[in-house]
């Protein structure tokens, strides 16, 4: 009887210790990125220049079952002529370990400011795209996607 109680206590200790270990190992994951990281990455790229929330459309599926590969499409409202075109589009994440996902460099030869690729997402978040025009003005847009299976182990 006494032995059994001892065994139970040991098992509880083991479970508590195990739970603690899980908690500790999950801490860096929950604390690894937030909106501030996105803003910092944005400042690194574009400085303190004003950004207007217009003209940029980010297309993502409303629900992504798998965060390892999520189709992303960005388009910018621009005539794409020799003297008025989109120079750069930066894709930013508020939740991935690294907030900068990718940068697209366009030219007047691009003809149409629309780019698609596949990205990794470590959880439900609003992906932001910032477009830099040839005149230096900055425009942004964002879309939120619910990610069921996060790529947080991967990213």
């Amino acid at each position: 009887m006494r032995d059994k109680a001892l065994f139970n206590a040991t098992r509880r200790q083991i479970l508590t210790a195990g739970g603690g270990a899980v908690l500790i190992s999950s801490l860096p994951l929950s604390a690894f990125a937030d909106e501030a990281d996105l803003l910092r990455a944005r400042t690194d790229l574009f400085g303190d220049r004003p950004i207007q929330e217009e003209r940029v459309t980010v297309k993502l599926p409303p629900i992504a079952e798998n965060g390892h590969s999520v189709p992303l499409s960005v388009s910018v409202d621009s005539p794409m002529t020799d003297d008025d075109y989109v120079k750069q589009i930066a894709i930013l994440s508020p939740r991935n370990t690294l907030p900068l996902i990718g940068q697209f460099h366009l030219t007047p030869f691009s003809g149409k400011a629309q780019v698609s690729t596949r990205i990794r997402m470590s959880g439900t978040q609003a992906i932001q795209a910032v477009a830099e025009m040839s005149d230096g003005s900055l425009w942004a847009g964002s879309t939120e996607t619910v990610v069921t299976l996060a790529a947080c182990v991967v990213l």
């Binding site: 900068l100 691009s110 003809g111 990205i119 991967v154 990213l155």
Partner: protein
């Protein structure tokens, strides 16, 4: 070279905006994953993609670890001249993969 898949229209009318797709088979190992023994799998990613038409840059992209494996990129080009499109991927160590496709503008 194997591992590259391109989608470029063979012909286009002058001034037409055509869609171009380019894919390279590559794991895009993020450097944040761990193997079965807990060791960190080292980062191995493509960092730069470029497409030019007879030496004039049409489109370029900088990839970071959050670009999914086998990076597929879809972009557009205004067809102005016939020529050869060169697609070039460079990885973090400077290794280059490239392929070409020609487009005839009528």
């Amino acid at each position: 070279m194997t591992g590259i898949r391109l989608s470029v229209p063979e012909t286009a009318a002058r001034g037409e905006v055509v869609e171009i797709k380019a894919l390279l088979r590559h794991p895009m190992e993020s450097g944040f994953r761990r193997g079965s023994r807990g060791e960190v799998i080292p980062r191995d990613i493509i960092t730069r993609f470029e497409c030019d038409l007879d030496g004039t840059l049409v489109f370029a992209s900088d990839f970071h670890p959050a670009i999914a494996a086998n990076p597929l990129i879809t972009f557009h080009m205004r067809a102005t001249e016939s020529g050869v499109l060169t697609f070039r991927w460079t990885d973090q160590n400077g290794e280059v993969w490239s392929d070409t496709a020609s487009i005839a503008v009528t």
